[in-house]
């Protein structure tokens, strides 16, 4: 890195090339390998990385049927979307209520610390009793687990939203209040629109959490009809046996929706994650 070259409008090619090599060998290679295995015949596995002799898309249809992909996809999408919906409306309002009333009432101050301190409790700590608890309330199904996600996301999301709401001048609410707006109206017409960047962050983090989560479905969802995509991969591990082609086709089917979302919203996702973390 010479000092002079930085000043000129030249691209730093050595670093660019190094980064490209890094991408090819560490990120593209594993995914390429997964794709190759997924489109090959089991007898064509001598050279793992070579292109298939015969393209075999059968693996995908087999995996699709075997794991009951549509149902698992629907379950996962249901959990993710419903969670997203309720998380965004409830958690943001809770954060709003807490931030705006913290100075006025002990109750909200207490609530703030209550939620924030719960961030320190990792899931493994409450896993055993939660399973018992969830059964008592019949939450061991996808509706129950969605509900639990909404509740369990509260500490982190409150934390993120509170940070953002603090920086919105209270004069805005006051103005709306003078116009006769009720708290819910102030929130939905004045505050929530301003919170868009934070909402994006919360949305991405919740989406990633619920879509890719494995532990909670593993301990809570016992009915095979209720399984999520991730859990199904684990459950079918032993049934894929040595048929890696089928297994990898199945893995790719699970990764695909996320990849598609990423390709189209990549910039938005990256900005969202940064905005949340830097706050």
């Amino acid at each position: 890195m010479s000092k002079v070259s930085i000043k000129k409008e030249h691209y730093n090619w050595p670093i660019t090339i190094l980064l490209i090599i890094g991408i090819l060998s560490f990120i593209v290679l594993p995914l390429y390998m997964a794709l190759m295995i997924a489109i090959k015949d089991p007898t064509d596995m001598n050279h793992i990385l070579a292109l298939p002799k015969v393209l075999r898309l059968h693996n995908f249809t087999d995996a699709w049927k075997m794991t009951e992909y549509p149902r698992k996809f629907f379950n996962t999408a249901f959990i993710t979307i419903v969670n997203l919906f309720f998380t965004l409306i409830t958690n943001s309002f809770v954060a709003f209520a807490i931030t705006r009333n913290r100075k006025k009432s002990k109750f909200f101050r207490f609530m703030y610390y209550y939620f924030i301190s719960a961030m320190f409790i990792p899931f493994s700590v409450i896993m055993l009793p939660l399973v018992v608890q969830a059964n008592t309330f019949h939450l061991d199904n996808i509706i129950g687990i969605t509900f639990l996600y909404v509740v369990f996301g509260l500490p982190m999301n409150t934390f993120l939203y509170c940070g953002a709401i603090k920086s919105i001048p209270e004069a805005l609410d006051e103005a709306a209040k003078i116009d006769g707006a009720k708290p819910l109206q102030i929130f939905s017409y004045v505050i929530f629109p301003i919170l868009k960047p934070t909402t994006a962050t919360v949305a991405i983090l919740s989406f990633m959490w619920t879509w890719n989560d494995f532990t909670m479905p593993l301990v809570l969802l016992s009915d095979s009809k209720q399984q999520t995509l991730q859990l199904a991969q684990y459950v079918f591990k032993s049934q894929f046996s040595v048929n890696y082609n089928l297994a990898f086709a199945s893995y790719l089917l699970v990764l695909l929706p996320v990849l598609i979302v990423y390709i189209f919203c990549q910039k938005w996702i990256m900005n969202g994650v940064v905005a949340g973390a830097i706050k």
């Binding site: 730093n12 006025k104 320190f120 493994s124 055993l128 939660l130 830097i278």
Partner: protein, 294 residues
């Protein structure tokens, strides 16, 4: 505390209603579970059937149980190594991505991709790489060290670390790049004039300015890695022996499968205390550091 506002403003009841409602739900499913866990830890309940109080027996047991101690040692070792590796690699990547490079946004997008992929499936994919691709490579080039499946050796922990680093670097890199972008280029120009470059510039200028990003990454990393679970279930199932059994895996497997529900509840309580202690300690140290540097 100055009371500037003269009249205490009334709080609209709707705030109370909604916050209380969420708080009650949160209490019932999160906090109550936590409290129940503490309760179970003083019993000999197996998760079903009869039980009785056993006092501190479960806790005393933890300190004499090689399996549990082994799981703690593994988890700490894993968390420390992974935290360091992830942060070093992410910093390097972030610096590289922040340099004057071509295709900047595309490259960044590629490096962030692993964040999107569930670690369970990433674990399955790497499982295959370690079991087939790497040994095939090792044998072809006569490299003894690479010709066995690393997950079946003493170094299985490194297999898990590699996968974790692979999928975690994305997030940390992104945070560091954001931190780097916020650094004013004037600072560098000034440094250039003073003759500071390379390592010196990084050490005295870049790194101190990155302190907030560093704090975030350290805190999030440590907490996440102490809970390592998915990748182990996908790759080694805790083996060979019990050498890659993390605390979270131990709680799951023995808590449900080994008839140690109460005992593992005690273990979970100990884990909680440790996580809180570490997080607080970290925040303190890093905040102090930030103050000093900033």
């Amino acid at each position: 505390m100055k009371r500037i506002k003269k009249r205490k403003q009334a709080v609209d009841p709707i705030y109370y209603v909604i916050v209380s409602l969420m708080a009650v739900l949160f209490f019932a499913f999160h906090t109550l579970s936590f409290i129940k866990g503490i309760f179970y830890s003083f019993t000999n309940w197996k998760g079903y059937g009869n039980w009785s109080f056993v006092g501190l027996r479960n806790y005393i047991h933890i300190f004499a149980d090689i399996d549990t101690i082994g799981a703690y040692l593994f988890t700490f070792r894993f968390a420390i190594i992974t935290t360091i590796l992830v942060n070093v690699i992410s910093l390097l990547l972030a610096c590289a991505l922040n340099a004057k490079i071509k295709f900047k946004n595309t490259l960044k997008a590629f490096y962030f991709l692993p964040y999107m992929l569930g670690i369970l499936i990433v674990g399955f994919i790497f499982n295959y790489i370690f079991a087939n691709l790497v040994p095939a490579f090792g044998k072809a080039f006569g490299i003894q060290a690479l010709s066995t499946n690393i997950l079946g050796t003493n170094y299985a922990i490194w297999g898990i670390i590699i996968v974790t680093v692979w999928s975690s670097c994305a997030f940390n890199t992104l945070i560091y790049t954001a931190g780097l972008q916020s650094i004013d280029t004037d600072v560098y120009e000034a440094a250039d004039l003073d003759g500071a470059s390379g390592w010196k510039r990084f050490k005295y200028i870049t790194f101190p300015l990155l302190a907030p990003s560093f704090t975030i990454n350290m805190v999030l990393s440590a907490k996440g890695y102490l809970m390592v679970y998915d990748q182990i279930m996908a790759m080694t199932d805790g083996g060979p022996g019990t050498s890659t059994t993390s605390i979270a895996v131990l709680i799951y497997k023995k808590g449900f499968g080994g008839g140690q529900f109460a005992y593992q509840s005690a273990n979970a309580v100990v884990l909680f205390v440790i996580v809180v202690a570490i997080s607080l300690l970290q925040l303190r140290i890093l905040e102090k550091r930030e103050e000093r540097l900033g």
